[in-house]
Each structure stands twice: as structure tokens, then as C-alpha cells.
């Protein structure tokens, strides 16, 4: 069986869905951050797959950018996590609702 682009897309879709679900339903802030990483990597997979398929390097360049941004995002996210934990003694996302109307 040859591996076509469809396989990549299915894997990518599954990864993205798992990530999105994690972001939406998990209560732990760290888990949410990791889920976001999942979603980003699903996107990366998608970009590279199409890059290969279309013989266009733009997608790969984009994925490098995304990885870079993801590193920054992870750094800021972890900093926020620590800051949140110091303030609230908890990592529950439900408790971070100060902006409630």
C-alpha cells in the first residue's frame, strides 16, 4: 500500500481534533498548553504534506515559522502558568474567570 496524501490528512485531522478537544475540555492549564502544541503540529503535518505533494517549499518554510512561534508560545504559556499558579495556587482553567461580565 502506497502512502498517499490522504493518509497524512487523516492523521493530521485526528491529531488536530484530539488537540482541539483537549483545549476545550481539559481543566489543567498545562494539558491545555500541550493540546495547543498538538494542534500546531497537526497543522505542520498538513503543511508539509501539501508541500511534498505540490513540490512547493512554501509550506515547509511556513512550518518552520510555526515551530518557531510555537516555541515562543510555549515559553510565554509556561511563564503564564507559573504566574497563575503563584497567584492562585491552582492550575484549574475554570478558576481563571476574573473577566466574567
Amino acid at each position: 500500500m502506497t502512502i498517499t496524501i490522504n493518509h497524512f490528512l487523516v492523521v493530521s485531522f485526528l491529531l488536530f481534533s484530539i488537540g482541539l478537544l483537549g483545549v476545550l475540555v481539559r481543566r489543567n492549564f498545562l494539558t491545555v498548553l500541550m493540546s495547543v502544541e498538538l494542534m500546531l503540529n497537526a497543522v505542520n503535518l498538513n503543511l508539509i504534506a501539501f508541500s511534498r505533494r505540490l513540490s512547493d517549499l512554501t509550506g515547509q518554510v511556513f512550518s518552520v515559522f510555526v515551530i518557531t512561534i510555537a516555541a515562543g508560545e510555549a515559553a510565554i504559556g509556561l511563564a503564564l502558568t507559573i504566574s497563575l499558579f503563584r497567584q492562585r495556587r491552582t492550575l484549574n482553567v475554570e478558576d481563571a474567570n476574573t473577566m466574567q461580565g
Binding site: 482541539l20 482553567v93 475554570e94 481563571a96 474567570n97 473577566m99 466574567q100 461580565g101
Partner: protein, 722 residues
């Protein structure tokens, strides 16, 4: 030099600013003034004397500054005044040369649309800030700056111990500025500025000892009484402007002289209004009441403002407007009657006054009456001549009385003086000279001017009342006798006999410092020679008449020189006036210096009613108090209050009721309709948004979910409807 004329008033103005500013700052920092609630218990006898209140003196350096700025500015002004006069030349002035200095266009009034007839000539209407130097104003600035300078010098000695030294000189400088503006004015409005300025300074200086109630009251009285006159004056100015369309002296008088028939009907009204101003400023009956009270001011002020210069402004103004007055024989008649009556009236009051300054004050009123009498019979030159000589001898008399008061440490009551001739010889000698001058002793200044007036009155002719001139002449002659009598009574009581004051005063008596005696000597000298410029009979003797002729021409239709009245008549008139003056002098000497005052006391006992009336100034003040203060102001006030409470109040009360009803309605509407609408809108909005606010949970995951759902929907719609 003539174009520097503007410096003449500006120097004292600068002096005023410097002195005033320096005084203001030093005054604030040191607070040298007595509290305002200082008990006003001092008797009015101590009025105007510096030693009555010895406060903290001004610091020596600052005092030197005030002295030099105060007197120096007037000295410079005097120099520039004479410079301008000599630059133009006295012969040139006498032959009609004049110099008008237009400083700037003061009030442009646009173009008059009316067509040519009287009143209101066509052309551009404007008022310039302009000064005018002609023979009349030259005469005035000459003696105003010179006598003013002498009195400034005198003040240095007299006011030396006063706390308000700087304030005094500031006011005095301001007065000089105003007075010079008044006499140098080239039109009625500039004159009015000076006119009000001298009134203001008079008020400020009368109330110089403002913590004494009588001084403050006297200042207010002078101010209020002067307002009545100024009201007339400004009405007169309006009249002149309405008739001539200009206020410039030259244009107005030229127009009036060139077209007398057209203007004559209005002139009586205009002239009487102008004369009302003169009556107020020059203290003529019935507005004379302020001048005697003005003696509450320091004595040099009385000399400068209330004897020599300011009070003669009325005479100056009438003489300046002689062209207008001549168009209206009726107004001249009024001037003559008021002047003649005032002369006699004030002289009789002067007989029975015991305050040395009050005697001089009534004497001033009386002499001013003389001047108006001269103007009223058309002898404007004689009036101005008397202004000049009066300035010399009355300034000398006032300064001499100041010296006497100074020597006695504030005593003003003649009954507590006496025998001062040996103790203060310079003051005595100068005072005696000035007294003889005012009494009309031959060859002294007052003799010539008074004689000129008497002769003019005798020869006057009023078509409406042919008997009047002789009556006025008799009154004036009798006044001359009274003048001699009360002045020599004053001299006798003060300088002859034995001292009647306390022993402390007796020990204290001393001659005044040089700064006071030198001006006295100069003024006494001028009281002797000042009249020689107007000797009537000698050929070429009447210099002042020829000098003033361009501004004050001889009466239209006057007799030419060859038809002049016989010399014998003049000599007879002269003899009459000299004789009656001598009788007055002699009686006063016999009764008060030789005698013990028994004769006048017996006379007073014989006619108690007359004596009481004279002593109390004919109760004029009391009458005014009852009539105007109590009657018109208070009684009228009560009446108006009643009217107000019953009639007038109906209107506001009715209006109030209507307003209350309307406001109740308005309130009702406001509460139920307007508020209902406003609150309804707010409530409905609040309800709506209470729902919306639920969406704002503050949980990031909710937002993400909604975002995801939204994205899903968009993609779904896109896919389905592609």
C-alpha cells in the same frame, strides 16, 4: 520747547506713579498705619495738623526719594511750562499766537450725516487728546506750576513727621497733573478729564487722615457736592457738542462768534449748565457747603487746592467760555448775582468763625464770589486777574496759618492764640502782608484786582435789570469792608495781645523751618508786586488785559480808550473801596487788638439771633441735612418703601404665585412624563443587557468553544453553498 508742552502735565504724573508705587510697597511691608478704628475722639480743632497723630515716620532714605520725586517733578513741570511760554513769546501770546498740540485722536465718532443747519454741523465728528497754549492757559500754568512748586516745598517741612508722607506727595503730584490737564486742555472733554481728576484728588487729600471720621466725611461731602456741579458741566458739554459738532475750544468759539444769531437761543441753557459746574467746583452758593469742611485736609492742601488753584477752575472755565456766555446776557446775569451774593454771604459768615482755617475758607468762598461777579458783568479779565492775585495772597495766608498751627502744635482755635507776632516774626510779617493785600490796601496785589472788579461792576449794564449793577456794586463794596474787617480780626486775634493758650503751647511756640518760611516770603513778595501787571490808569499799565485780549476780548461795543470813564470817577471808586477797607481794618484793630473784644461781644449780645445765624453759617448745612439727607433721602426712602410694599410688591407677588403654579405643573409633567420616558428607556436596556452579559463568562475555554463552533458553521455554510 513748545512741542514739549505735553511734558508739563506728564512730569507730575510720573512723580505720582513713582511715589505711589514706592509708597504702596513700603506701606505693605511695614504696615506703618494706625488701625482704622482709631478713636475719632480728637476734636475737630486738631483737624489737618500733622502732630495730632504722630505715627511711625517714613524711613529717611525713602523720605528723601519722595521729597525729590514729589517736588522735583513739579519743578521740572514749572521749568517746562515757562519754557513753552517763553518759546512762544509773551508779546506773541498777547497778539493772539497760540499753540495746539494734538497728541492723538482720542474718540473718533464717525461722520455726521446731518445737513448743515444748527444744531449738528456736517463733517467728521471726533475728539482729540490735545493741549492748547494760549495767553489764558499760559497765565494759568505759570502760576499753577509756580505756586504748586512752592507749596510742595512747604509740604516737605509741614508734612515731615507724617506716616503717609509718600501717599501725600503721590496725591499732590496727581493733583498737579489733573490741574495742568484742566488748564491746558484744548477741548471740553480733556478739560473734563482734568476737572474730574482734581475733584478726585481733592477728595483724596481732604480725607488724607482717613482714620478720623470728620476728615473722611468731609472728603465724601466734597465729592458728592461736586458731583452735582459736574452733572451740570457734562450736560453743558453735551449741549456744546450737539450745537457745534465739536468740542475744540477754537472751533466752538469761532463758530459761536461768527454766527451769534443762530446759536444765541440755545446759549442760555448751555451756559447755565456750564455755570452749574463752575458753581460746584468753585464753591458758590448754594453748593458752597463743601469748601469749609474741606479744611479737614492738611493745610498745604487747603492752600494749593482749596484756595489757589482748583477752586478757581470754575472761574477759569467761565472765562475760557466767555464767547458763549456773552451770547447769553441772562446767563451772565445769573453769574453776576450768584457771585455777588456768595461774596457777601460768605464774608458775613467769616466774621464770626473762630477756627483760623474756617475764616480763610469763607474768605476764599467770598473772593471766588468776587471773581464770578467780575465774570458776570463781562469783566472776565478782571476775574482772571483776581484769580492770579488771589492765588498769591491766599496761598500765603493759608501757608501762614499752617505755620501758626505748626508753631502751636495743632491749635486752630483763634481764641487760644494771641501775641504770636514776636515769637514767629517771619510768619507774622508775611501773613500781615498777605492780609493787607487781600484787604485791598493800595499798591498791593489785591487792591488792583479788586478795584478792577469794583469798577467793572459799577459800570456794568444789564438791559433786563438796570438797577442791579449798583446794587451789586454796593454789595461788593460792603464785602470789601467785611473782608478787611475779618482778616484783620484774624491777625489781631492771632498775633496781637497776649497769649491765651496753655503754658505748654506757649513754651512750644517756634518759628517754622526754612522749607516753610522761604515759600512764605516768596508768596508775600508776590502778594505785593503781583498786582502791578494790571494797574488800570497808567498808560500801558493794564498789561494783563492786553495779554489776555486774544482769548478774552474786551466787551463787544465796549467804549474805546478815549471814551473811557473819567479818571475822576475811577479815582472816586478807588477812594470808596480803599476807604471802606481802611474802616474795616481800623475797626478790627480797635475792637480786637486794642480792645478786649468787648464791643463785638456786646453786639452779639444785642442781636443774638443774627449772631447765632452767622456763627452757624446761616444753618445751611442743617437745612441741607433736613431737606436732602433727612427729607429727600430718608423721608423719600420711607415713602418709597411704603409704595414698594403696597403697590410695587403686588407685581412680584402676583408673578410669584403664577410662577409657583406653573412650576407645580412643570414638576408634575417632569416627574411622570419626562422621567417616565427616561427611566423606561434605561430599564428596558438594562433588562436586555442582563441577558447578554451571561455570554461573558470569563472562561477562556467557553470562548474557544464558541469560536470553534463559529468556525465550524462558517466552513459548513461555505461547503454547503459553494
Amino acid at each position: 520747547m513748545r512741542d514739549l508742552l505735553w511734558l508739563v502735565p506728564v512730569f507730575p504724573l510720573a512723580g505720582f506713579l513713582v511715589n505711589g508705587i514706592v509708597y504702596l510697597f513700603s506701606h505693605r511691608t511695614r504696615a506703618a498705619h494706625p488701625p482704622a478704628d482709631q478713636p475719632a475722639a480728637e476734636s475737630s480743632q486738631a483737624a489737618g495738623h500733622p502732630h495730632a497723630h504722630v505715627h511711625l515716620e517714613t524711613r529717611p532714605r525713602r523720605k528723601t526719594l519722595h521729597t525729590f520725586v514729589g517736588t522735583g517733578s513739579v519743578a521740572l513741570s514749572c521749568v517746562f511750562a515757562f519754557g513753552a511760554i517763553f518759546d512762544l513769546g509773551i508779546p506773541a501770546l498777547a497778539s493772539g499766537a497760540h499753540h495746539v498740540l494734538n497728541l492723538w485722536r482720542w474718540i473718533p465718532l464717525g461722520v455726521n450725516q446731518a445737513t448743515g443747519q444748527v444744531p449738528g454741523p456736517p463733517g467728521e465728528w471726533f475728539v482729540d487728546m490735545a493741549l492748547r497754549l494760549d495767553s489764558l492757559s499760559a497765565l494759568m500754568i505759570g502760576f499753577v506750576t509756580f505756586v504748586g512748586f512752592l507749596i510742595h516745598v512747604y509740604s516737605v517741612g509741614y508734612m515731615g513727621h507724617e506716616a503717609g508722607y509718600g501717599r501725600y506727595f503721590a496725591y499732590l503730584n496727581l493733583f498737579m497733573f489733573s490741574m495742568l490737564t484742566l488748564v491746558l486742555a484744548s477741548n471740553f472733554l480733556v478739560m473734563f478729564v482734568g476737572w474730574e481728576g482734581v475733584g478726585l484728588c481733592s477728595y483724596l487729600l481732604i480725607g488724607y487722615d482717613y482714620h478720623k471720621k470728620f476728615a473722611a466725611d468731609a472728603g465724601k461731602k466734597a465729592f458728592v457736592v461736586n458731583r452735582i456741579g459736574d452733572f451740570g458741566f457734562i450736560l453743558g458739554i453735551f449741549g456744546v457738542f450737539a450745537l457745534f459738532g465739536t468740542l475744540d475750544f477754537g472751533q466752538v468759539f469761532a463758530a459761536a462768534a461768527s454766527n451769534p444769531i443762530a446759536y444765541a437761543p440755545w446759549m442760555t441753557l448751555v451756559c447755565l449748565c456750564l455755570f452749574l459746574g463752575a458753581v460746584g467746583k468753585s464753591a458758590q452758593v448754594p453748593l458752597h457747603v463743601w469748601l469749609p469742611d474741606a479744611m479737614a485736609g492738611p493745610t498745604p492742601v487747603s492752600a494749593l487746592i482749596h484756595a489757589a488753584t482748583m477752586v478757581t477752575a470754575g472761574v477759569y472755565m467761565v472765562a475760557r467760555c466767555n464767547v458763549l456766555f456773552r451770547l447769553s446776557p441772562d446767563s451772565l446775569l445769573v453769574v453776576a448775582v450768584v457771585g455777588g451774593f456768595t461774596a457777601l454771604f460768605a464774608a458775613t459768615i467769616g466774621l464770626a468763625q473762630n477756627d483760623i482755617k474756617k475764616v480763610l475758607a469763607y474768605s476764599t468762598v467770598s473772593q471766588l464770589g468776587y471773581m464770578f461777579l467780575a465774570c458776570g458783568v463781562g469783566a472776565f479779565v478782571a476775574g482772571m486777574f483776581h484769580v492770579l492775585t488771589h492765588a498769591f495772597f491766599k496761598a500765603c495766608l493759608f501757608l501762614g496759618s499752617g505755620s501758626v498751627i505748626h508753631a502751636l502744635g495743632g491749635e486752630q482755635d483763634l481764641r487760644r492764640m494771641g501775641g504770636l507776632a514776636r515769637k514767629i516774626p517771619v510768619t507774622y510779617a508775611t501773613f500781615l502782608v498777605a492780609t493787607l493785600a487781600i484787604s485791598g490796601v493800595p499798591l498791593l496785589a489785591g487792591f488792583f484786582s479788586k478795584d478792577a472788579i469794583l469798577a467793572a461792576v459799577f459800570e456794568a449794564h444789564f438791559p433786563r435789570a438796570p438797577w442791579l449793577p449798583k446794587l451789586l456794586w454796593m454789595a461788593a463794596l460792603f464785602t470789601a469792608g467785611l473782608t478787611a474787617f475779618y482778616m484783620f480780626r484774624l491777625v489781631s486775634l492771632a498775633f496781637y495781645g497776649t497769649f491765651r493758650g496753655t503754658p505748654e503751647q506757649d513754651a512750644h511756640v517756634h518759628e517754622s523751618p526754612k522749607s516753610m518760611t522761604v515759600p512764605l516770603v516768596i508768596l508775600a513778595f508776590l502778594s505785593i508786586v503781583g498786582g502791578w501787571i494790571g494797574i488800570p490808569m497808567l498808560p500801558g499799565g493794564d498789561r494783563i488785559g492786553r495779554f489776555l485780549a486774544p482769548v478774552v476780548p474786551a466787551l463787544a461795543g465796549a467804549r474805546p480808550a478815549e471814551h473811557a470813564p473819567a479818571v475822576s470817577l475811577e479815582v472816586a471808586l478807588m477812594a470808596a473801596s480803599v476807604g471802606i477797607a481802611m474802616i474795616g481794618l481800623l475797626l478790627a484793630y480797635l475792637w480786637y487788638a486794642k480792645g478786649d473784644g468787648g464791643v463785638p461781644a456786646r453786639l452779639a449780645a444785642r442781636f443774638p439771633a443774627v449772631y447765632r445765624a452767622v456763627e452757624n453759617k446761616y444753618f445751611v448745612d442743617e437745612a441741607y441735612d433736613a431737606l436732602f439727607v433727612e427729607g429727600l433721602a430718608k423721608g423719600g426712602g420711607r415713602f418709597l418703601w411704603e409704595v414698594d410694599a403696597t403697590v410695587v410688591d403686588l407685581i412680584p407677588n402676583g408673578a410669584a404665585a403664577v410662577t409657583r403654579g406653573a412650576s407645580w405643573l412643570s414638576h408634575f409633567f417632569d416627574q411622570y412624563f419626562v422621567d417616565g420616558a427616561v427611566n423606561g428607556v434605561a430599564d428596558s436596556l438594562q433588562g436586555g443587557f442582563r441577558l447578554l452579559r451571561r455570554a461573558q463568562t470569563g472562561r477562556v475555554q467557553n470562548y474557544a468553544l464558541v469560536m470553534g463552533a463559529g468556525l465550524f458553521c462558517i466552513v459548513a455554510v461555505y461547503l454547503i453553498f459553494r
